[in-house]
Amino acid sequence: MLRATIFFIYVSSVASASETVGMPQLDPKSWVPQIFWLIITFSFLYIIISKIIFPRLSESIEQRNDYISDLIDEAKKLTEQTENLNKQYDNLIKNSNNQAQEIIINDRRKINIEFNKKQNLLNDKISNITMKAEEEIKNFHHNSIGQIKIIAKSITEELLKELSIKKMIDHKIISKNIEEICKKSIGNIN
């Protein structure tokens, strides 16, 4: 407001004071050349801007925008891909965990079966061996008495020899006595 007031006071004072100048803007003589040169210069500038500057600027700006949007698109794609890969990875881990679990369970079962089979086999073998051993023991038990008799007979004979009672060595009597002793002791044992 202040600006406008100062201006108008001044313009009115100037207009009244100096008749020579007044407002040069209102002198019609200067209008035609101004319009003429305005048309020339403005058209020249318009042609330069619309033919040279505008295509250049819009091209470079659009190129940049395209480049940026391309990069953004690529980034989006890549994130999607990584998400997919992550999912696949998770799935793979889950699947392999499940598979491993299955394998463990199956193998445990197989091992158990195998183990049981082998245990049974071993048990059979062990029982066979024990049976054989028992038979052997029994046989040995049977045979041992005869052996003991022979050993006892030979020991007695040897004793009697040592005692130099050679004439007293009567095989029949010795055998008879041993037989009796055996009978008594084995009868006690049995």
Binding site: S30, I35, L38, L45, I53
Partner: protein, 243 residues
């Protein structure tokens, strides 16, 4: 004290040129139009020579101007006004540079002449009117009939609308011209005070002068912006009929 209106005088430079009966001599006004246009052209051509993906500082300057105008058009007139982009950019840069070059001491302000701004405004007015009629036919006249107005009021409203439409070139041109002339006159007045008050009392008007110069630079930019944005708004009326 020197007459502050003397700075607006148009003086012929060189020989008198006549086309038909019209005197189209080269004047100081023409000289500054030429200087303005050459400056803009050289500036824009140099700064846009290298189209690098990452712009240099100079390239950024012209891109700044481009994007400033592009945003202005997009916000007021929308995408339909895109073909008129070079014109708006030319208009904005021309007015801006004329105003700014006018701020230099001893220079001439082209836009401080009513005939220049009026020629521009009239061209815009006629152009916008033609675009409106080409786009909408006689439907463009609906512009003068705002929707939702009671029928009794319509005759008055239509008359007011027509008057306001017809006064567009006047308001557009006088706004720019008056602002420029007022600012430069004031600067000259305060400059005159500095001289007449001398070394003792001249400091105060000198301070005013400095402050006013800052203000005038702001006004120079603002008026160029207003001129361009009003053109966009008028263009918007012609392109997208809202009423």
């Amino acid at each position: 004290m020197a007459n502050p209106m003397k700075q607006f005088e148009v003086k012929t430079i060189g020989p008198k040129i006549e086309i038909g009966n019209f005197d189209v001599s080269f004047t100081n006004s023409s000289l500054f139009m030429l200087i303005t246009v050459s400056l803009i052209s050289i500036f824009l051509i140099i700064t846009t020579q290298k189209k690098s993906l990452v712009p240099s500082r100079l390239q950024l300057l012209s891109e700044l101007a481009y994007q400033f105008v592009a945003k202005m058009i997009a916000e007021t007139a929308g995408s339909k006004a895109r073909p008129f982009f070079p014109f708006i950019l030319t208009l904005f840069l021309f007015v801006l540079f004329c105003n700014m070059i006018g701020m230099l001491p001893y220079s001439f302000t082209v836009t401080s002449h009513i005939i220049v701004t009026f020629a521009l405004a009239t061209f815009i007015f006629i152009g916008v009117t033609i675009i409106g009629f080409v786009k909408h036919g006689f439907g463009y006249l609906k512009l003068f009939v705002p929707s939702g107005v009671p029928i009794i009021l319509l005759p008055i409203i239509v008359v007011i609308e027509v008057i306001s439409y017809l006064s567009r070139p006047v308001s557009l041109s006088v706004r720019l011209f008056a602002n420029m002339m007022a600012g430069h006159t004031m600067l000259k007045v305060f400059g005159g005070f500095v001289i007449s008050l001398g070394f003792v009392g001249g400091w105060l008007p000198l301070g005013f002068s400095v402050a006013l110069t800052g203000l005038e630079i702001l006004v120079a930019f603002l008026q160029a912006y207003v001129f361009a944005i009003l053109t966009c708004i008028y263009l918007n009326d012609a392109l997208n009929l809202h009423h």
